[in-house]
């Protein structure tokens, strides 16, 4: 897996790639540089400073779910182009490219799974697919995950990483907010549970819809969780931003997440919650 990035030379303080962007396997926290297999072996957490690198959807599922327990659903769904959207490039081209580079049909993967032998439904976002943006198919997949959880009477675990709604689908992407909200409400009305894990970044339309509606909200350390990103806030208001603006740690301090869970503890924490929400009755 992760064949897209193949860095075999281990070194510290790797020079930036062409164009000044740091290499994705260079830690922005401490500058350490890793091979893919090294990072994977450590759940993509920097062993030096604890920085949490992004995790692709399939890898996230491997980290969380019991071996071979994951059975994907709705993998065949693909977005179309309702507005014939064309900015600098056609939307359809961006979609095709995203599928090629991620190997996924859309920015969310759903399916059923077990975690520490407790059955659940998973809905995991892929930031690499057009910035994890939520268009109609992401909304549809999330709604189906809620329905699947309800049908099987198991909790839903969502893992989000998203820049927000998918602009290329115009107003229809905004409609994914109420759509996913209604799906969570249906799940809750049927007695169901939703555990929301917010990874970096969970912003805009995803933060302002289903991601915030879990029975329990977990965040990964350092994750940006804000409706508006820091740059836009700074440009608009000219305010000096406080330390950690919009980060998980700031959200925790201001009362918006239940716990910040380092990735090595995430599987056990989710399992604990699944046990709590499934056992009921003396």
């Amino acid at each position: 897996m992760s064949e897209r990035i193949d860095v075999s030379i281990e070194h510290r303080h790797a020079p930036p790639e062409d164009g000044g962007r740091p290499h994705p396997n260079t830690c922005p926290g401490c500058g350490s540089h890793y091979r893919d297999d090294e990072l994977d072996a450590n759940l993509r957490v920097c062993p030096q400073c604890g920085h949490h690198f992004p995790v692709h959807a399939r890898e996230r599922i491997r980290q969380l779910a019991d071996n071979d327990s994951f059975a994907e659903e709705a993998a065949e769904l693909r977005s179309d182009d309702p507005l014939d959207f064309f900015d600098l490039r056609p939307y359809t081209e961006r979609l095709a490219e995203a599928e090629l580079s991620t190997g996924l049909g859309e920015a969310m993967v759903i399916g059923h799974a077990a975690i520490e032998e407790l059955p659940c439904e998973l809905a995991v976002m892929e930031f690499g697919f057009m910035g994890g943006s939520m268009g109609r198919i992401v909304g549809e997949k999330f709604a189906r995950a809620c329905e699947s959880a309800t049908e099987r009477g198991v909790p839903l675990v969502s893992v989000t990483a998203s820049g927000g709604a998918r602009m290329q689908e115009g107003i229809l992407s905004l409609m994914q907010l109420p759509k996913t909200v209604c799906a969570v409400e249906d799940l809750h009305d049927s007695g169901g549970t939703m555990i929301s894990v917010m990874a970096h970044p969970t912003t805009a339309g995803v933060l302002a819809s289903f991601a915030s509606l879990g029975d329990v909200l977990l965040a990964e350390p350092g994750a940006l969780l804000s409706f508006t990103g820091p740059r836009v806030v700074q440009q608009t208001t000219r305010e000096k931003l406080p330390d950690n603006f919009g980060r998980a740690e700031s959200n925790y301090r201001h009362g918006h997440v239940d716990q910040i869970v380092p990735r090595p503890e995430l599987r056990a924490t989710v399992a604990r919650l699944l046990r709590l929400f499934s056992s009921n009755g003396a």
Binding site: D87, C182, S250
Partner: protein, 313 residues
């Protein structure tokens, strides 16, 4: 898709034409409105027409929520405060009697002069504003009052405090509350329906849009800045993501277009209010006699299926 919307409206037109004109002028107005909607859809709006909507939606003289309140509601009583931290003047909430029945109205409110604009934060709500709206809607639910929500917000406020007070979560919870209400909710986009700030109070049984309002996932300028890397390309962005009422109707995002006086709502606020009032009244009546549980089930189905791809239906 335009074809489907056209068919739907043609069908409504012929149904209305065949009705005995019991309601007289009222029904005439409906016919005219549908006729105009039909014309819009058949004649795909040009990029210039779309941009004109953006400009009219933002026109500083356009009637705001309270302009409609004073023309449409009797015994208006404004509610204030979120019962936690403040009273957000960018959101108005209150009780009033609308054509003989008590309703709760929530709406975004821009300011008219410089001071009021600042006080009302240019209509951009803080989490305290969503909190006030939620409180008002809960009151409506407890007493069986229909909810009218007027949307006119450039977008959620991009500020430090708004983030620290959790506007993402507040927008999510406001929608969740609306998905739970057992009373009818009618929304009309009366100006700018901007992104999360708009949808926070637009999860309704019936969503209307004034003729020159816009409904967007991001401002044209914001979209241009991201996709064209140049905020100056807002006109291009608007043409690409089609925020005008005609397109929103065509896409099934709204249920009907509310006519404005010729030249736009700002040319004649009284007439704009009359037209809006008729559309709101008619919309609320649609849900008379419907049980609360059925109402909210239908509401959720509406949003579950909006813009659903044929491959996923």
């Amino acid at each position: 898709m335009a074809r489907e919307a056209e068919l739907r409206i043609r069908e409504q037109l012929s149904r209305l034409r065949s009705l005995p004109l019991l309601r007289g002028a009222r029904l005439e107005g409906e016919l005219e409105r549908l006729q105009r909607q039909l014309e819009r859809i058949v004649a795909e709006p040009s990029d210039e027409e779309i941009w004109r909507s953006v400009e009219l939606a933002r026109n500083a003289d356009r009637p705001y929520t309270l302009d409609y309140v004073e023309r449409l509601l009797e015994d208006w009583f404004e509610l204030h405060g979120d019962r936690a931290h403040g009273d957000d003047a960018a959101v108005v909430a209150g009780l009033g009697r609308f054509r003989g029945r008590t309703v709760v109205l929530v709406g975004n409110q821009k300011g008219r002069d410089v001071k009021e604009r600042t006080d009302r934060n240019f209509g951009m709500a803080y989490p305290e504003g969503y909190g006030k709206a939620m409180r008002a809607m809960e009151l409506a639910n407890r007493h069986g009052f229909p909810v009218i929500s007027l949307v006119d917000i450039p977008g959620a406020y991009p500020g430090v405090t708004a983030e620290e007070h959790g506007q993402g979560g507040a927008i999510a919870r406001s929608q969740a509350l609306m998905a739970r209400l057992r009373v009818p909710i009618v929304t009309c986009i009366i100006g700018e329906g901007g992104s999360g700030g708009a949808i926070a109070t637009a999860l309704a049984d019936r969503v209307l849009m004034q003729e020159n309002a816009i409904y967007t996932v991001i401002s044209p300028e914001g979209c241009a800045a991201i996709l064209w890397r140049d905020a100056g390309e807002a006109q291009k962005a608007a043409a690409a993501f089609k925020p005008d009422a005609g397109h929103c109707l065509e896409l099934g995002v709204i249920d009907a277009i509310v006519a404005e006086p010729d030249g736009g709502a700002h040319t004649n606020a009284d007439e704009a209010a009359r037209l809006l009032g008729d559309a709101l009244a008619e919309s609320i009546e649609l849900f008379d006699g419907l049980a609360g549980d059925d109402l909210r089930r239908q509401r959720r189905v509406r949003f579950r299926t909006i813009g659903q791809l044929s491959t996923t239906a």
